[in-house]
Amino acid sequence: MNLTEPMPARGFNLSKDDLGSDILEIAMGPHHPSTHGVFRMDLKLDGETVVELKPIFGYLHRNHEKLAEDMTYPMSMPFTDRLDYLCGMTNNWAYALSCEQFLDIEVPERAEYIRVICAELTRLVNHCLLVGFFINDLGALGTPLLYALREREKILDLFENLSGARMMVNYMRFGGVRCDLPDGWLEECKRIVDIFPTFLDEYETLLVENEIVITRAQNVGVLTAEEATNFSITGPMLRASGVNYDIRKVDKYGIYDRFDFKVPIGAHGDCYDRFMVRMLEMRESIKILKQAIKDIPEGEIIAADAPNIYKPAIGETYGRIESPKGELGFYLVADGTTKPYRFKVRPPSFVNLTALRHMCIGHKVADAVIILGSIDIVLGEVDR
């Protein structure tokens, strides 16, 4: 290098051809902080614009379905906690529901109420985390996320009190739940539910009309209603696109027909709507929780006819519930033994990922991060 000559001037008056620009290939992840786990996006970039995207995953794959084929039906229950490790309760419920369909087990009234309370608390936990991480992905590092985590922590303490574990709850059983509510649990739950809206008010004041959130999230990653249906999208993401489809309302599993609640619907199907639908869903969950806590009866917590050895006849079933992320289904094939012949999980975030490529192409890299954040994936469930 000749140091006597001055450096050539750079950085201005340069056209694309002078730079010799080319398509840049980037493997974003698997250890990128915004991919929510070990998830990789292989991106092709023209400047900062995404022209091609390939989602690559399977780093957490342990073949949960194969493991379940070697176990009896009840033995799989703790493993379902590890699918979507943020929402153990709803995973338990989905699996219990599918197995109850086999033998037509009637769940007692009190157990149904406990299940609803747990499931709605789980929805609060999940949506708290999601909105926190979503704002985190937008660039507001730390503070809003910790506000959300603070609220989540209270509910996790409730779960710990109830089941002995904060996340890996292993709480539901075929025909009911494992143990009754401890003394004073309902009062504590009522107190937390009553003060929860103050957090939502605070959060909405800070973020909903925030100019940066609006500029970054509106009209990003738009998914129309037809596309969302065709992509098999479920859950809040589907409703943000304007499709009124909530399995709690459609199937009315459990006792959801007894509660008065609304289903928030978005109009634009962009990231902002997905964020808002979740904020509004939390308020609806609070409504359900208040009604459930008021109405919960005394009584049995597990069905009297729940079998000790679970052995369904030859056949198959598909049970599904509205988990916080979307439709969580279990497809079970029984061959007349105590072990399932086929155990298939229909994970919501895995199927919702199908639309990622479609939503990201044409947007900037920084937008791809928030689009992924708005899908709400958990890799324990995607990879299984």
Partner: protein, 196 residues
Amino acid sequence: MELNHEAILQHFPDIVWEEATKSLIVSPDQIVEVVTWLKEHKMFRLDYLSCVSGVDYMESELKTKARNAEGKMEVIITKIPDKMEVVYHFYSMEKKNGPLVIKQRVLTRENPVVTSLTPLYRGAELMEREVYDLYGIHFTGHPDLRRILMWDEFEHYPMRKDYVPPNDYDWEPTPHFDVIEKANERMTEKEGQPQS
């Protein structure tokens, strides 16, 4: 809400209704026609494909007890041949009903081929890739049929019933003496000489 399958059977006489599993068995040649019809017909409007699963049935024997002509109990053994199935669960978001279970059945376990529904339902893309990855069922018409959960170099199909998982010691013996010892034992069994 159960869907009326009689209307489908009237329109497509080749389809078989299997009462035991409450599902329609559709051949891979016909499936695109049937599903398009169901998607557009105003009575069904099956616009939402919920779940795609593969199932592997090895050759098996079904034992049932029945009374014979002399009035004695007798065990009847029925042979169930090899087959592979791809099971689709359909719902309608517009009509809010379902499910309708449609199965593509292949009576072979050697290189089974079915028709992909991804051109009709984009949501099937990753789920069909998963079935291909874990069961080795090929989908004709799928735009991007690659492995998805297992790594690309993996050779077998792990969810098949005859798949034998490798022993842990075959992979990488750690510096623990008991593990190395067991690995050596296995190598001796396999090849007659211990691993270095």
